[in-house]
Symmetry: C2
Subunit: 299 residues, 2 copies
């Protein structure tokens, strides 16, 4: 069976979009249980300003608990928006960091207060230092199909940004369909343009399930050769653009889908469901992954 | 743009699986709002024993309110499990009825207390009378991919049942993936067998979103030529086999998907969202269609 790389983004993309701020100890327990469930790639945290994103305020402390214990068996990454964040990530022992930009000028401006071009200049020192330090860099691109401010984004624009990130030294490009509005024909149109220039092995897809289209989009990407996807346990996190709506595609839904389609994920679904049950308790809210709910109630 | 036939099953398959029993007046309001939103095919009720399924106990009363008002502009159907139910449906003014069986002996036994073969004998008088009366008959087949008691069902078994229903006089076969466990490769395998013998124009797909696979399965069926799908407003109804889990694919998710994929449905999504909001109030529970939730909160 062919193996799919799943990057569990619950601890970062998930928790960053939850109202309840977990203690570092709770996060450690979450990550421990994810590792026990078979997660092999985990986006752990983000080195950002604590006053801006308090959910990620304990990045160094969390890394100090997690990396010595699990760093040899699991790939951990973290978001580094600037060289200062990169240095903190390096000091914390990360072997992989991620930089992020978007295809849309308005989104990049609102999200990181830069133009897309400026975001590249700001990354360059991170790529230079990472190259020197032997650290892998992942490049996130947000709003690859549609932007909440600009609407439809041309695939050629996404390709341009992806190529620049690869030239700068990224080892993988994560295509983020940030607002979860895309349908399979749009993913097909995007990937047709991307895959003419970039091998599928360098591309990851990061889908949100806001309108319930994530699994259909993943099927489309899978058909076109993509073998790397992001997801969050239980569908943790939400959509900042639609209160109460679904955010990242749930790892349970993804693992259920991939396993039944004949792929290997390395993740034990029953064990993962128990992790999400723990998170429901800690966050004091119901998680809305379809597979999670069905499994939780059927056993 | 190509048009897709959507059969709205909320008033029957949806409400039958809700704990709260609505008044006939509330059901009439529901159906009125569905019609105003553009629904053209509505499964209205079921002529069953009131002591067995109290949610459908007002079939004749509801029909008497709905059919004279909307019967000329919308196709209404109802489930008729036996000749007695058929006579009641005919007396109520229906021009279309539906009979149901399954591919699995265990399921048919538990569900309608017959073998699959016996279910055919029991339908024959309905088909005979419908033929005499000029009434259309739709044939539902449950558990087309998997049975909660028997597990995996062979596509050839579903084909056999579908062919018998067509020979008996059904104008359309609805393939029901009753427990919502199937993934696209299974739908592909099923439809490959079915469509070798039966034209796609005679096949409807009825998917449940229990594990979040419904839209991906619909995309698969669409790719293979299916142009008729069942769904329920807001995802009304649930899964009798997993408490709290999703049931029928939500009409909102289906309409969102089809519209963005370039198909015509005739249904106004914003208007439909308001119908589901009304139903949330009447049923006193949150509906869990992804598109519904996103639309409700974004506007």
């Amino acid at each position: 069976m062919e193996t799919i790389k799943i990057t569990e983004v619950g601890p970062r993309d998930g928790l960053q979009n939850e109202k309840t701020i977990l203690s570092t100890q709770d996060k450690f327990e979450f990550v421990t249980r994810l590792v026990e469930s078979g997660a092999k790639h985990i986006e752990l945290t983000s080195f950002v300003r604590k006053d801006r994103i308090p959910q990620m305020g304990d990045a160094s402390e969390l890394a100090a608990m997690v990396l010595p214990k699990f760093g040899s068996q699991v790939h951990f990454s973290c978001l580094t928006p600037n060289p200062k964040g990169y240095e903190a990530a390096l000091a914390s022992g990360f072997k992989e960091v991620a930089v992020f930009t978007a295809t849309s000028e308005s989104f990049t401006k609102k999200n990181i207060n830069m133009t897309v071009l400026e975001s590249f200049s700001s990354f360059q020192p991170i790529f230079d230092n990472a190259n020197r330090d032997g650290i892998k860099v992942r490049g996130y691109i947000s709003t690859v199909v549609s932007c909440p401010y600009e609407g439809k984004i041309e695939p050629s624009k996404t390709l341009e940004v992806a190529e620049r990130l690869l030239e700068a030294g990224a080892y993988e490009i994560s295509l983020g369909e940030t607002i979860g509005v895309a349908v399979p024909t749009e993913i097909e149109a995007l990937l047709e343009v991307i895959l003419k220039k970039i091998p599928s092995s360098l591309i990851n897809c990061h889908f949100h399930d806001t309108y319930g289209m994530a699994i259909a989009n993943i099927k489309q990407a899978l058909t076109m050769g993509i073998r790397s996807f992001d997801s969050s346990a239980g569908g943790l996190g939400g959509c900042p653009y639609a209160k109460g709506a679904a955010g990242n595609v749930a790892t349970e839904d993804l693992v259920y889908f991939l396993t039944k389609e004949g792929y290997e994920t390395g993740i034990n679904l029953d064990s993962l469901v128990k992790v999400s049950q723990l998170m429901e308790t800690k966050l004091n809210r119901y998680l809305n992954s379809r597979t999670y709910i069905a499994k939780k109630n059927v056993g």
